[in-house]
């Protein structure tokens, strides 16, 4: 017994919907002809292809398909899929880059359990910010890699991200334009570039 059996209104609605609409035979003929015409394209017509040639053709197409797929995977994995070949992006308009190299590192060290990433929490206090992300050498300073979540009261931002053990330099990117150090962390000078960064040391318990 379903609800429809008890409810006459619901039963009427179901009966209406079950009725088959009137058949337009011309429309059916048009659709069938179009489908038949579409099937007769060269690529779908195996009758005229020699078996051996067909085998080569299939191998060639599958190889090209594989190559294309692999290339797409390669580009996407590196976050390099750009639609328009935009010019260089600087600071605030940095194009997103992926952490693919980090993946390479993890793979290289995969045999070592101690080298596996460890979850690390970052907290940042800024009530006026609209968007905050953690940027550091662990995510190749990509502002889209670790976007922080705002607390319910609105002032505190936090993110938990996996980081490989060791010492890392990082900071916070506020509203995609302002690089800020972590006031709670030690600061270190980058001798190569003459700039400052915050330091975190990550280890496995």
């Amino acid at each position: 017994m379903t609800d429809a059996d008890h409810d006459p209104l619901l039963q009427r609605a179901i009966d209406e919907l079950r009725q088959v609409p009137p058949l337009d035979r011309d429309a059916v003929r048009r659709v069938v002809s179009a489908a038949a015409a579409a099937r007769l394209s060269a690529a779908d017509e195996p009758v005229f292809v020699e078996r051996a040639a067909r085998g080569r053709s299939i191998r060639m197409w599958s190889a090209i398909g594989m190559a294309a797929a692999a290339a797409v995977v390669g580009f996407v994995a590196r976050g390099q899929w750009r639609t328009g070949g935009e010019p260089a992006a600087v600071a605030t308009t940095l194009a997103p880059t992926s952490s693919a190299p980090a993946t390479t590192l993890q793979t290289a060290a995969a045999s070592d359990a101690d080298a596996k990433p460890i979850l690390q929490q970052f907290v940042f206090d800024n009530a006026r910010a609209k968007r905050v992300s953690v940027v550091g050498d662990f995510n190749t300073w990509n502002p889209n890699s670790a976007v922080m979540t705002r607390s319910s009261d609105g002032g505190l931002w936090s993110a938990i991200i996996p980081i490989t053990p060791g010492r890392h330099i990082y900071g916070f990117m506020v509203d995609d334009s302002l690089f800020t150090l972590d006031p709670r962390a030690p600061k270190v000078r980058d001798a190569d570039l003459g700039t400052d960064g915050s330091v975190v040391i990550v280890g496995r318990p």
Partner: protein, 222 residues
């Protein structure tokens, strides 16, 4: 057989795509054509030498973010590449990529190659990323390198966990930030660790143990 060949082809194409992508990544980041070409060369060399690329890409990305001029970015990338090579040979024979990156970071922070070798010597078959990170941070916090190396190597010998090492580095940092002298902060923390790890020198290497460690209640961490 067919599927193996296909998989192989896929991998080759993927590798080529990644190579192109790394070069594109660099050129997209650095507008200056000459600098971009130079950086691509550095990346290619580092890759050929089997070194991790992440530190170079991270350095370039960071440099662009802080608006460093192109020549400085190239110089920084060269420096990173040289340090990676140095770190690998100092941490020989079989450093992991994580170890090499940590070694590069330590060299960047002013730790000498000799200290890297000493860390490797006491930890030949274990990852050294954390000890190197702590050592680097101690050196940055103004602990003399020789002493810092001695403390860290001693802790490794005594079986300090990665977490204990991290806590040491972070605690010293926190106290230095509050105005305590780095060496004083380190001594206090080492005494506490000594209490947890047991009497130093019990395993026969008392001579190498810093004096500050020669106290404590002898309790050994299970």
């Amino acid at each position: 057989m067919k599927s193996i060949a296909r998989a192989g082809l896929g991998l080759i194409v993927l590798a080529c795509a990644n190579r192109v992508a790394a070069a594109q990544e660099i050129s997209a980041l650095v507008a200056d054509r000459e600098a971009s070409a130079e950086l691509a060369k550095i990346v290619a060399t580092v890759r050929q030498n089997g070194l991790p690329l992440e530190p170079i890409l991270a350095k370039v990305q960071y440099a662009v973010m802080v608006r460093s001029p192109a020549p400085r970015i190239v110089a920084a990338a060269h420096a990173v590449a040289a340090r990676l090579e140095d770190a690998r040979s100092a941490l020989a024979p079989q450093p992991t990529a994580t170890d090499i990156v940590a070694g590069e970071n330590a060299l960047w922070s002013g730790v000498s190659r000799k200290s890297l070798e000493e860390i490797r010597k006491v930890s030949p078959n274990k990852p050294v990323a954390v000890p190197l990170g702590v050592l680097a941070q101690l050196v940055v916090s103004s602990v003399p390198e020789k002493k810092a190396t001695k403390y860290v190597t001693d802790l490794i010998k005594r079986g300090a966990t990665s977490d204990q090492l991290v806590a040491l580095g972070n605690d010293v940092n926190a106290e230095v930030k509050l105005g305590t002298r780095a060496m004083d902060a380190l001594e206090v923390r080492m005494n506490r660790l000594n209490a947890v790890l047991g009497v130093p020198g019990a395993n026969g290497d008392a001579a190498s143990v810093p004096t500050s460690l020669q106290s404590g209640d002898g309790k050994k961490k299970p």
